[in-house]
Subunit: 255 residues, 2 copies
Amino acid sequence: MPPAITRSEKPGRGLSRPAQVADKIKEWVVEDGLNRGDRLPGEAELMAQFGMAKGTIREAMRILEAQGLIKTRTGPGGGSFVHEVSKERARALLGNYFYFKNLTIADIYQLRSVLEPELAASLAGRLDEDALKALRANIAEFDTPATDAEEERARHIVSLRFHAMLAAQSSNPLLAFLIDFMACMLSDLTVYRRLFDPPNTELWQRGRDYQMRLLEALRDGDGAAARRIMSEHMSTAWWLMEMQEAEMERRFLPE
Amino acid sequence: MPPAITRSEKPGRGLSRPAQVADKIKEWVVEDGLNRGDRLPGEAELMAQFGMAKGTIREAMRILEAQGLIKTRTGPGGGSFVHEVSKERARALLGNYFYFKNLTIADIYQLRSVLEPELAASLAGRLDEDALKALRANIAEFDTPATDAEEERARHIVSLRFHAMLAAQSSNPLLAFLIDFMACMLSDLTVYRRLFDPPNTELWQRGRDYQMRLLEALRDGDGAAARRIMSEHMSTAWWLMEMQEAEMERRFLPE
DNA sequence: ATCTATTTGTACGTATGTATT
DNA sequence: AAATACATACGTACAAATAGA
Protein backbone atom coordinates (compact mmCIF):
# COMPACT_ATOMS: atom_id res chain seq x y z
CA MET A 1 0.00 0.00 0.00
CA PRO A 2 3.06 2.28 -0.11
CA PRO A 3 1.95 4.85 -2.72
CA ALA A 4 1.27 7.32 0.05
CA ILE A 5 1.27 11.04 -0.01
CA THR A 6 3.60 13.74 0.97
CA ARG A 7 2.08 16.21 3.32
CA SER A 8 0.88 19.07 1.16
CA GLU A 9 -0.31 17.10 -1.83
CA LYS A 10 -3.90 18.08 -1.19
CA PRO A 11 -4.57 21.45 0.37
CA GLY A 12 -6.61 19.80 3.10
CA ARG A 13 -10.25 20.57 2.40
CA GLY A 14 -11.11 21.87 5.83
CA LEU A 15 -10.18 18.61 7.47
CA SER A 16 -7.57 18.44 10.18
CA ARG A 17 -4.48 16.49 9.35
CA PRO A 18 -5.32 13.51 11.52
CA ALA A 19 -8.69 13.29 9.80
CA GLN A 20 -7.00 13.35 6.41
CA VAL A 21 -4.67 10.56 7.45
CA ALA A 22 -7.60 8.54 8.76
CA ASP A 23 -9.46 8.94 5.48
CA LYS A 24 -6.40 7.94 3.52
CA ILE A 25 -6.05 4.78 5.54
CA LYS A 26 -9.69 3.96 4.94
CA GLU A 27 -8.96 4.30 1.24
CA TRP A 28 -6.13 1.81 1.58
CA VAL A 29 -8.44 -0.64 3.22
CA VAL A 30 -10.97 -0.55 0.41
CA GLU A 31 -8.53 -0.27 -2.49
CA ASP A 32 -6.26 -3.03 -1.30
CA GLY A 33 -9.22 -5.09 -0.18
CA LEU A 34 -7.82 -5.54 3.29
CA ASN A 35 -9.60 -7.93 5.59
CA ARG A 36 -10.20 -8.29 9.28
CA GLY A 37 -6.94 -8.88 11.05
CA ASP A 38 -4.71 -7.44 8.35
CA ARG A 39 -1.93 -5.33 9.71
CA LEU A 40 -1.53 -1.67 8.95
CA PRO A 41 1.85 0.07 8.86
CA GLY A 42 3.31 0.93 12.25
CA GLU A 43 3.55 4.39 13.69
CA ALA A 44 7.11 4.86 12.52
CA GLU A 45 6.31 3.88 8.98
CA LEU A 46 3.25 6.11 8.85
CA MET A 47 5.24 9.02 10.21
CA ALA A 48 7.70 8.53 7.39
CA GLN A 49 5.10 8.04 4.64
CA PHE A 50 2.99 11.01 5.62
CA GLY A 51 5.88 13.13 6.82
CA MET A 52 4.04 13.91 10.00
CA ALA A 53 4.86 13.78 13.66
CA LYS A 54 4.03 10.97 15.97
CA GLY A 55 1.21 12.74 17.76
CA THR A 56 -0.55 13.52 14.50
CA ILE A 57 -0.40 9.92 13.37
CA ARG A 58 -1.60 8.71 16.73
CA GLU A 59 -4.60 11.02 16.64
CA ALA A 60 -5.47 9.59 13.25
CA MET A 61 -5.34 6.08 14.63
CA ARG A 62 -7.56 7.10 17.50
CA ILE A 63 -10.14 8.32 15.05
CA LEU A 64 -10.21 4.98 13.32
CA GLU A 65 -10.24 3.17 16.63
CA ALA A 66 -13.14 5.28 17.92
CA GLN A 67 -15.13 4.29 14.87
CA GLY A 68 -14.35 0.66 15.55
CA LEU A 69 -12.37 0.17 12.34
CA ILE A 70 -9.04 -0.83 13.87
CA LYS A 71 -7.66 -2.40 17.01
CA THR A 72 -4.22 -1.67 18.31
CA ARG A 73 -1.81 -3.88 20.27
CA THR A 74 1.55 -3.12 21.82
CA GLY A 75 4.59 -5.29 21.82
CA PRO A 76 6.44 -7.23 19.12
CA GLY A 77 4.17 -8.20 16.26
CA GLY A 78 1.90 -5.49 17.55
CA GLY A 79 0.51 -2.54 15.67
CA SER A 80 -2.83 -1.58 14.24
CA PHE A 81 -5.08 -4.15 12.66
CA VAL A 82 -8.16 -3.85 10.51
CA HIS A 83 -11.14 -4.74 12.62
CA GLU A 84 -14.75 -5.48 11.82
CA VAL A 85 -16.94 -2.95 13.57
CA SER A 86 -18.63 -4.82 16.37
CA LYS A 87 -22.35 -4.86 16.90
CA GLU A 88 -21.89 -3.27 20.31
CA ARG A 89 -19.83 -0.43 18.92
CA ALA A 90 -22.26 0.22 16.08
CA ARG A 91 -25.09 0.22 18.58
CA ALA A 92 -23.39 2.78 20.77
CA LEU A 93 -22.46 5.02 17.86
CA LEU A 94 -25.97 4.97 16.48
CA GLY A 95 -27.34 5.51 19.97
CA ASN A 96 -25.30 8.71 20.20
CA TYR A 97 -27.18 10.02 17.20
CA PHE A 98 -30.46 9.78 19.07
CA TYR A 99 -29.16 11.33 22.26
CA PHE A 100 -30.52 14.78 21.42
CA LYS A 101 -33.46 13.51 19.42
CA ASN A 102 -35.59 12.43 22.38
CA LEU A 103 -36.76 9.22 20.85
CA THR A 104 -39.91 7.87 22.45
CA ILE A 105 -41.07 4.38 23.23
CA ALA A 106 -43.82 4.86 20.67
CA ASP A 107 -41.24 5.64 17.99
CA ILE A 108 -39.46 2.38 18.65
CA TYR A 109 -42.65 0.38 18.78
CA GLN A 110 -43.83 1.84 15.52
CA LEU A 111 -40.85 0.12 13.96
CA ARG A 112 -40.96 -2.99 16.06
CA SER A 113 -44.57 -3.60 15.14
CA VAL A 114 -43.64 -4.00 11.48
CA LEU A 115 -40.07 -5.28 11.69
CA GLU A 116 -40.50 -8.00 14.29
CA PRO A 117 -43.32 -9.70 12.36
CA GLU A 118 -41.22 -9.49 9.20
CA LEU A 119 -38.35 -11.14 11.05
CA ALA A 120 -40.60 -13.86 12.42
CA ALA A 121 -42.02 -14.63 9.00
CA SER A 122 -38.61 -14.82 7.39
CA LEU A 123 -37.32 -17.16 10.09
CA ALA A 124 -40.11 -19.72 9.91
CA GLY A 125 -38.71 -23.16 9.27
CA ARG A 126 -35.14 -21.89 9.24
CA LEU A 127 -34.12 -22.35 12.87
CA ASP A 128 -31.99 -25.32 13.76
CA GLU A 129 -32.48 -27.38 16.90
CA ASP A 130 -29.81 -25.52 18.85
CA ALA A 131 -31.45 -22.19 18.23
CA LEU A 132 -34.87 -23.49 19.18
CA LYS A 133 -33.45 -25.00 22.34
CA ALA A 134 -31.77 -21.76 23.36
CA LEU A 135 -34.99 -19.85 22.77
CA ARG A 136 -36.99 -22.33 24.83
CA ALA A 137 -34.43 -22.04 27.60
CA ASN A 138 -34.83 -18.29 27.53
CA ILE A 139 -38.57 -18.60 27.97
CA ALA A 140 -38.07 -21.05 30.81
CA GLU A 141 -36.05 -18.45 32.66
CA PHE A 142 -39.15 -16.64 33.67
CA ASP A 143 -41.74 -19.33 34.23
CA THR A 144 -42.82 -17.91 37.57
CA PRO A 145 -44.73 -14.64 37.76
CA ALA A 146 -42.98 -11.62 39.15
CA THR A 147 -43.64 -10.74 42.76
CA ASP A 148 -42.38 -7.19 42.84
CA ALA A 149 -41.65 -4.31 40.54
CA GLU A 150 -37.93 -4.94 40.28
CA GLU A 151 -38.48 -8.55 39.38
CA GLU A 152 -40.98 -7.51 36.79
CA ARG A 153 -38.38 -5.33 35.22
CA ALA A 154 -36.00 -8.30 35.10
CA ARG A 155 -38.68 -10.35 33.30
CA HIS A 156 -39.01 -7.61 30.78
CA ILE A 157 -35.31 -7.57 30.04
CA VAL A 158 -35.17 -11.33 29.61
CA SER A 159 -38.04 -11.21 27.20
CA LEU A 160 -36.28 -8.53 25.20
CA ARG A 161 -33.28 -10.83 24.99
CA PHE A 162 -35.58 -13.34 23.36
CA HIS A 163 -36.05 -10.93 20.48
CA ALA A 164 -32.33 -10.21 20.27
CA MET A 165 -31.67 -13.95 20.02
CA LEU A 166 -34.19 -14.25 17.23
CA ALA A 167 -32.60 -11.34 15.44
CA ALA A 168 -29.21 -13.01 15.58
CA GLN A 169 -30.65 -15.84 13.50
CA SER A 170 -31.61 -13.65 10.60
CA SER A 171 -29.62 -13.82 7.42
CA ASN A 172 -30.40 -10.15 6.83
CA PRO A 173 -27.70 -8.18 8.65
CA LEU A 174 -29.63 -4.94 8.55
CA LEU A 175 -32.78 -6.46 9.98
CA ALA A 176 -30.77 -8.32 12.59
CA PHE A 177 -28.95 -5.19 13.69
CA LEU A 178 -32.06 -3.08 13.98
CA ILE A 179 -34.07 -5.53 16.02
CA ASP A 180 -31.10 -5.93 18.31
CA PHE A 181 -30.60 -2.18 18.51
CA MET A 182 -34.17 -1.55 19.50
CA ALA A 183 -34.22 -4.33 22.07
CA CYS A 184 -31.04 -2.91 23.58
CA MET A 185 -32.38 0.62 23.68
CA LEU A 186 -35.48 -0.61 25.43
CA SER A 187 -33.71 -2.70 28.02
CA ASP A 188 -30.94 -0.19 28.72
CA LEU A 189 -32.75 3.07 28.63
CA THR A 190 -36.28 2.45 29.73
CA VAL A 191 -37.65 3.74 32.98
CA TYR A 192 -41.14 3.13 34.23
CA ARG A 193 -43.23 5.87 35.67
CA ARG A 194 -46.11 3.87 37.02
CA LEU A 195 -45.22 0.24 37.67
CA PHE A 196 -48.10 -2.07 38.29
CA ASP A 197 -48.24 -2.91 41.91
CA PRO A 198 -49.00 -5.69 42.35
CA PRO A 199 -47.62 -6.74 38.96
CA ASN A 200 -50.23 -7.86 36.48
CA THR A 201 -49.54 -11.60 36.40
CA GLU A 202 -52.12 -12.41 33.78
CA LEU A 203 -50.62 -9.89 31.38
CA TRP A 204 -47.12 -11.29 31.51
CA GLN A 205 -48.56 -14.75 31.21
CA ARG A 206 -50.02 -13.68 27.88
CA GLY A 207 -46.62 -12.41 26.75
CA ARG A 208 -45.15 -15.77 27.59
CA ASP A 209 -47.85 -17.55 25.64
CA TYR A 210 -47.11 -15.43 22.60
CA GLN A 211 -43.48 -16.44 22.68
CA MET A 212 -44.29 -20.15 23.06
CA ARG A 213 -46.84 -20.11 20.28
CA LEU A 214 -44.35 -18.21 18.15
CA LEU A 215 -41.73 -20.88 18.67
CA GLU A 216 -44.16 -23.56 17.55
CA ALA A 217 -45.00 -21.67 14.40
CA LEU A 218 -41.31 -21.13 13.68
CA ARG A 219 -40.55 -24.81 14.21
CA ASP A 220 -43.40 -25.85 11.93
CA GLY A 221 -42.33 -23.43 9.25
CA ASP A 222 -45.62 -21.58 9.33
CA GLY A 223 -44.51 -18.10 8.33
CA ALA A 224 -47.97 -16.59 8.17
CA ALA A 225 -48.79 -17.71 11.69
CA ALA A 226 -45.43 -16.52 12.99
CA ARG A 227 -46.03 -13.12 11.49
CA ARG A 228 -49.51 -12.87 12.94
CA ILE A 229 -48.49 -13.99 16.42
CA MET A 230 -45.56 -11.61 16.54
CA SER A 231 -47.76 -8.80 15.34
CA GLU A 232 -50.23 -9.35 18.17
CA HIS A 233 -47.37 -9.72 20.60
CA MET A 234 -46.02 -6.32 19.60
CA SER A 235 -49.42 -4.69 19.91
CA THR A 236 -49.93 -5.83 23.46
CA ALA A 237 -46.34 -5.06 24.43
CA TRP A 238 -46.71 -1.57 23.04
CA TRP A 239 -49.95 -1.07 24.92
CA LEU A 240 -48.33 -2.35 28.10
CA MET A 241 -45.50 0.14 27.82
CA GLU A 242 -47.96 2.96 27.36
CA MET A 243 -49.88 1.83 30.42
CA GLN A 244 -46.72 1.95 32.48
CA GLU A 245 -45.91 5.37 31.12
CA ALA A 246 -42.49 4.10 30.19
CA GLU A 247 -39.97 6.64 28.93
CA MET A 248 -36.48 6.68 27.54
CA GLU A 249 -33.64 7.83 29.71
CA ARG A 250 -31.05 10.09 28.13
CA ARG A 251 -27.62 8.57 28.36
CA PHE A 252 -24.93 7.00 26.24
CA LEU A 253 -24.99 3.31 25.54
CA PRO A 254 -22.02 1.35 26.82
CA GLU A 255 -19.78 0.39 23.99
CA MET B 1 -18.23 20.19 36.02
CA PRO B 2 -14.97 20.44 37.95
CA PRO B 3 -15.24 17.32 40.13
CA ALA B 4 -12.79 15.57 37.87
CA ILE B 5 -10.44 12.77 38.61
CA THR B 6 -6.82 12.42 39.31
CA ARG B 7 -5.10 10.02 37.03
CA SER B 8 -5.02 6.74 38.91
CA GLU B 9 -8.42 6.91 40.56
CA LYS B 10 -9.72 4.05 38.52
CA PRO B 11 -7.31 1.29 37.57
CA GLY B 12 -8.22 1.67 33.91
CA ARG B 13 -10.32 -1.31 32.97
CA GLY B 14 -8.41 -2.24 29.87
CA LEU B 15 -9.14 1.07 28.23
CA SER B 16 -6.39 3.34 27.07
CA ARG B 17 -6.14 6.65 28.84
CA PRO B 18 -7.55 8.73 26.01
CA ALA B 19 -10.55 6.42 25.90
CA GLN B 20 -11.04 6.85 29.64
CA VAL B 21 -10.92 10.60 29.32
CA ALA B 22 -13.41 10.48 26.47
CA ASP B 23 -15.80 8.38 28.55
CA LYS B 24 -15.46 10.73 31.48
CA ILE B 25 -16.34 13.69 29.32
CA LYS B 26 -19.39 11.87 28.03
CA GLU B 27 -20.41 11.39 31.65
CA TRP B 28 -20.12 15.12 32.22
CA VAL B 29 -22.34 15.78 29.27
CA VAL B 30 -25.14 13.57 30.58
CA GLU B 31 -24.79 14.39 34.27
CA ASP B 32 -24.62 18.12 33.78
CA GLY B 33 -27.25 17.94 31.07
CA LEU B 34 -25.08 19.83 28.62
CA ASN B 35 -26.66 20.90 25.37
CA ARG B 36 -25.56 21.47 21.81
CA GLY B 37 -23.13 24.33 21.69
CA ASP B 38 -22.09 24.19 25.32
CA ARG B 39 -18.39 24.65 25.80
CA LEU B 40 -16.14 22.03 27.30
CA PRO B 41 -13.00 22.91 29.26
CA GLY B 42 -10.00 23.84 27.12
CA GLU B 43 -6.98 21.68 26.60
CA ALA B 44 -5.02 23.36 29.34
CA GLU B 45 -7.77 22.93 31.89
CA LEU B 46 -8.29 19.29 30.96
CA MET B 47 -4.57 18.65 31.22
CA ALA B 48 -4.67 20.06 34.73
CA GLN B 49 -7.84 18.24 35.81
CA PHE B 50 -6.78 14.86 34.53
CA GLY B 51 -3.10 15.37 35.23
CA MET B 52 -2.25 14.23 31.76
CA ALA B 53 -0.19 15.60 28.93
CA LYS B 54 -1.47 17.53 25.99
CA GLY B 55 -1.16 14.66 23.55
CA THR B 56 -3.28 12.38 25.69
CA ILE B 57 -6.03 14.95 26.02
CA ARG B 58 -5.94 15.67 22.34
CA GLU B 59 -6.33 12.01 21.48
CA ALA B 60 -9.35 11.92 23.75
CA MET B 61 -10.91 14.87 21.99
CA ARG B 62 -10.27 13.22 18.65
CA ILE B 63 -12.21 10.19 19.81
CA LEU B 64 -15.20 12.32 20.70
CA GLU B 65 -14.88 14.24 17.48
CA ALA B 66 -14.70 11.06 15.42
CA GLN B 67 -17.96 9.95 16.97
CA GLY B 68 -19.49 13.29 16.10
CA LEU B 69 -20.08 14.35 19.70
CA ILE B 70 -17.97 17.49 19.72
CA LYS B 71 -16.71 20.11 17.33
CA THR B 72 -13.54 22.05 17.89
CA ARG B 73 -12.70 25.59 16.93
CA THR B 74 -9.43 27.48 17.16
CA GLY B 75 -8.99 31.09 18.08
CA PRO B 76 -10.18 33.16 21.03
CA GLY B 77 -13.42 31.88 22.45
CA GLY B 78 -12.53 28.63 20.73
CA GLY B 79 -12.33 25.22 22.26
CA SER B 80 -14.44 22.10 22.14
CA PHE B 81 -18.21 22.28 22.01
CA VAL B 82 -20.90 19.70 22.51
CA HIS B 83 -22.34 18.84 19.15
CA GLU B 84 -25.38 16.93 18.05
CA VAL B 85 -24.33 13.97 15.97
CA SER B 86 -25.26 14.79 12.40
CA LYS B 87 -27.33 12.54 10.23
CA GLU B 88 -24.45 12.28 7.79
CA ARG B 89 -22.02 11.20 10.47
CA ALA B 90 -24.39 8.65 11.92
CA ARG B 91 -24.99 7.30 8.43
CA ALA B 92 -21.28 6.89 7.80
CA LEU B 93 -20.64 5.26 11.17
CA LEU B 94 -23.47 2.80 10.71
CA GLY B 95 -22.34 2.17 7.16
CA ASN B 96 -18.95 1.11 8.49
CA TYR B 97 -20.65 -1.62 10.46
CA PHE B 98 -21.95 -3.19 7.27
CA TYR B 99 -18.70 -2.94 5.39
CA PHE B 100 -17.71 -6.53 6.10
CA LYS B 101 -21.24 -7.83 6.24
CA ASN B 102 -21.89 -7.81 2.50
CA LEU B 103 -25.37 -6.47 2.70
CA THR B 104 -27.42 -7.18 -0.39
CA ILE B 105 -30.00 -5.18 -2.25
CA ALA B 106 -32.57 -7.74 -1.20
CA ASP B 107 -31.72 -7.17 2.47
CA ILE B 108 -32.40 -3.48 2.11
CA TYR B 109 -35.59 -3.99 0.16
CA GLN B 110 -36.89 -6.43 2.69
CA LEU B 111 -36.89 -3.52 5.13
CA ARG B 112 -37.95 -0.88 2.67
CA SER B 113 -40.99 -2.89 1.70
CA VAL B 114 -42.37 -2.67 5.22
CA LEU B 115 -40.90 0.61 6.45
CA GLU B 116 -41.68 2.85 3.50
CA PRO B 117 -45.40 1.98 3.56
CA GLU B 118 -45.45 2.57 7.29
CA LEU B 119 -43.86 5.96 6.74
CA ALA B 120 -46.34 6.82 4.02
CA ALA B 121 -49.30 5.88 6.17
CA SER B 122 -48.06 7.91 9.12
CA LEU B 123 -47.50 10.95 6.94
CA ALA B 124 -50.92 11.08 5.34
CA GLY B 125 -52.56 14.44 5.91
CA ARG B 126 -49.57 15.76 7.80
CA LEU B 127 -47.54 17.42 5.06
CA ASP B 128 -47.71 21.16 4.72
CA GLU B 129 -47.86 22.95 1.40
CA ASP B 130 -44.13 23.60 1.29
CA ALA B 131 -43.30 19.95 1.69
CA LEU B 132 -45.80 18.92 -0.96
CA LYS B 133 -44.43 21.53 -3.32
CA ALA B 134 -40.86 20.36 -2.82
CA LEU B 135 -41.91 16.77 -3.47
CA ARG B 136 -43.75 17.74 -6.63
CA ALA B 137 -40.70 19.65 -7.78
CA ASN B 138 -38.60 16.57 -7.23
CA ILE B 139 -40.89 14.50 -9.39
CA ALA B 140 -40.85 17.17 -12.07
CA GLU B 141 -37.07 16.85 -12.26
CA PHE B 142 -37.36 13.70 -14.29
CA ASP B 143 -40.38 14.18 -16.44
CA THR B 144 -38.58 13.02 -19.55
CA PRO B 145 -37.60 9.39 -20.01
CA ALA B 146 -33.94 8.47 -19.84
CA THR B 147 -32.12 8.03 -23.11
CA ASP B 148 -29.04 6.20 -21.94
CA ALA B 149 -27.82 4.11 -19.03
CA GLU B 150 -26.09 6.92 -17.21
CA GLU B 151 -29.14 9.10 -17.39
CA GLU B 152 -31.25 6.26 -16.10
CA ARG B 153 -28.99 6.01 -13.12
CA ALA B 154 -29.46 9.72 -12.47
CA ARG B 155 -33.24 9.21 -12.55
CA HIS B 156 -32.89 6.51 -9.99
CA ILE B 157 -30.91 8.70 -7.64
CA VAL B 158 -33.42 11.52 -7.92
CA SER B 159 -36.24 9.16 -7.12
CA LEU B 160 -34.35 7.93 -4.08
CA ARG B 161 -34.09 11.52 -2.94
CA PHE B 162 -37.86 11.63 -3.06
CA HIS B 163 -37.93 9.02 -0.33
CA ALA B 164 -35.29 10.80 1.70
CA MET B 165 -37.37 13.96 1.54
CA LEU B 166 -40.41 12.08 2.72
CA ALA B 167 -38.41 10.58 5.56
CA ALA B 168 -37.33 14.02 6.71
CA GLN B 169 -40.98 14.85 7.31
CA SER B 170 -41.53 12.05 9.78
CA SER B 171 -41.88 12.87 13.45
CA ASN B 172 -40.29 9.53 14.26
CA PRO B 173 -36.53 10.10 14.30
CA LEU B 174 -35.72 6.42 14.09
CA LEU B 175 -37.95 5.81 11.11
CA ALA B 176 -36.70 8.97 9.44
CA PHE B 177 -33.07 7.99 9.90
CA LEU B 178 -33.51 4.48 8.59
CA ILE B 179 -35.36 5.41 5.44
CA ASP B 180 -32.72 8.01 4.76
CA PHE B 181 -29.92 5.55 5.50
CA MET B 182 -31.28 2.97 3.10
CA ALA B 183 -31.88 5.50 0.35
CA CYS B 184 -28.33 6.73 0.77
CA MET B 185 -26.85 3.24 0.70
CA LEU B 186 -28.73 2.51 -2.48
CA SER B 187 -27.76 5.69 -4.27
CA ASP B 188 -24.14 5.68 -3.14
CA LEU B 189 -23.26 2.07 -3.34
CA THR B 190 -25.32 0.54 -6.05
CA VAL B 191 -23.80 -0.74 -9.26
CA TYR B 192 -25.72 -2.29 -12.10
CA ARG B 193 -24.58 -5.42 -13.82
CA ARG B 194 -27.03 -5.59 -16.66
CA LEU B 195 -28.49 -2.24 -17.53
CA PHE B 196 -31.51 -2.22 -19.74
CA ASP B 197 -30.43 -0.97 -23.07
CA PRO B 198 -32.43 0.79 -24.28
CA PRO B 199 -33.82 1.87 -20.89
CA ASN B 200 -37.29 0.60 -20.18
CA THR B 201 -39.26 3.80 -20.49
CA GLU B 202 -42.58 2.30 -19.58
CA LEU B 203 -41.19 0.93 -16.30
CA TRP B 204 -39.87 4.25 -15.09
CA GLN B 205 -43.10 5.87 -16.12
CA ARG B 206 -44.86 3.53 -13.72
CA GLY B 207 -42.50 4.51 -10.93
CA ARG B 208 -43.32 8.12 -11.58
CA ASP B 209 -47.02 7.40 -11.48
CA TYR B 210 -46.64 5.71 -8.13
CA GLN B 211 -45.00 8.81 -6.68
CA MET B 212 -47.66 11.12 -8.07
CA ARG B 213 -50.52 8.98 -6.84
CA LEU B 214 -48.76 8.75 -3.49
CA LEU B 215 -48.60 12.51 -3.22
CA GLU B 216 -52.33 12.77 -3.87
CA ALA B 217 -53.11 10.25 -1.18
CA LEU B 218 -50.81 12.07 1.25
CA ARG B 219 -52.44 15.40 0.46
CA ASP B 220 -55.92 13.94 0.91
CA GLY B 221 -54.96 12.35 4.21
CA ASP B 222 -55.77 8.86 2.95
CA GLY B 223 -53.34 6.76 4.97
CA ALA B 224 -54.60 3.42 3.78
CA ALA B 225 -54.18 4.38 0.15
CA ALA B 226 -50.75 5.85 0.78
CA ARG B 227 -49.64 2.63 2.43
CA ARG B 228 -50.97 0.50 -0.39
CA ILE B 229 -49.44 2.63 -3.14
CA MET B 230 -46.06 2.73 -1.45
CA SER B 231 -46.18 -0.99 -0.92
CA GLU B 232 -46.74 -1.64 -4.60
CA HIS B 233 -44.08 0.90 -5.46
CA MET B 234 -41.55 -0.96 -3.34
CA SER B 235 -42.47 -4.30 -4.88
CA THR B 236 -41.86 -3.12 -8.40
CA ALA B 237 -38.71 -1.25 -7.44
CA TRP B 238 -37.34 -4.38 -5.78
CA TRP B 239 -38.18 -6.46 -8.82
CA LEU B 240 -36.51 -3.89 -11.06
CA MET B 241 -33.31 -3.99 -9.07
CA GLU B 242 -33.24 -7.77 -9.25
CA MET B 243 -33.73 -7.61 -13.00
CA GLN B 244 -30.76 -5.35 -13.35
CA GLU B 245 -28.71 -7.61 -11.13
CA ALA B 246 -27.82 -4.60 -9.04
CA GLU B 247 -25.23 -5.12 -6.32
CA MET B 248 -23.74 -3.15 -3.48
CA GLU B 249 -20.25 -1.82 -3.84
CA ARG B 250 -17.96 -2.12 -0.83
CA ARG B 251 -16.72 1.23 0.31
CA PHE B 252 -16.99 3.71 3.11
CA LEU B 253 -19.69 6.32 3.03
CA PRO B 254 -18.53 9.93 2.97
CA GLU B 255 -19.03 11.56 6.32
C1' DA C 1 12.26 -17.07 34.86
C1' DT C 2 14.97 -13.37 32.79
C1' DC C 3 16.45 -10.73 29.44
C1' DT C 4 15.93 -8.46 24.97
C1' DA C 5 13.89 -6.56 21.00
C1' DT C 6 9.85 -4.50 19.08
C1' DT C 7 6.03 -1.60 19.02
C1' DT C 8 2.61 1.19 21.10
C1' DG C 9 1.64 4.52 25.03
C1' DT C 10 2.56 8.80 27.69
C1' DA C 11 4.87 13.15 28.79
C1' DC C 12 6.72 17.67 27.89
C1' DG C 13 8.46 21.65 25.63
C1' DT C 14 8.27 24.57 21.76
C1' DA C 15 6.73 26.51 17.63
C1' DT C 16 3.07 27.50 14.31
C1' DG C 17 -1.60 28.42 12.71
C1' DT C 18 -6.01 30.74 13.18
C1' DA C 19 -9.78 33.42 14.49
C1' DT C 20 -11.45 37.23 17.59
C1' DT C 21 -11.09 41.79 19.44
C1' DA D 1 -2.62 46.38 12.46
C1' DA D 2 -1.55 44.30 16.58
C1' DA D 3 -2.34 41.70 20.53
C1' DT D 4 -4.72 37.81 22.47
C1' DA D 5 -6.49 33.15 23.19
C1' DC D 6 -6.99 29.21 21.69
C1' DA D 7 -6.10 24.76 18.98
C1' DT D 8 -2.66 22.39 15.89
C1' DA D 9 1.59 20.25 14.91
C1' DC D 10 6.44 18.74 15.80
C1' DG D 11 10.37 16.27 18.12
C1' DT D 12 12.29 13.99 21.57
C1' DA D 13 12.62 11.23 25.64
C1' DC D 14 11.06 7.69 28.30
C1' DA D 15 7.47 4.24 30.07
C1' DA D 16 4.77 0.09 29.47
C1' DA D 17 3.38 -4.08 27.27
C1' DT D 18 4.22 -8.31 24.87
C1' DA D 19 6.48 -12.03 22.27
C1' DG D 20 10.39 -14.82 21.74
C1' DA D 21 15.13 -16.46 22.94
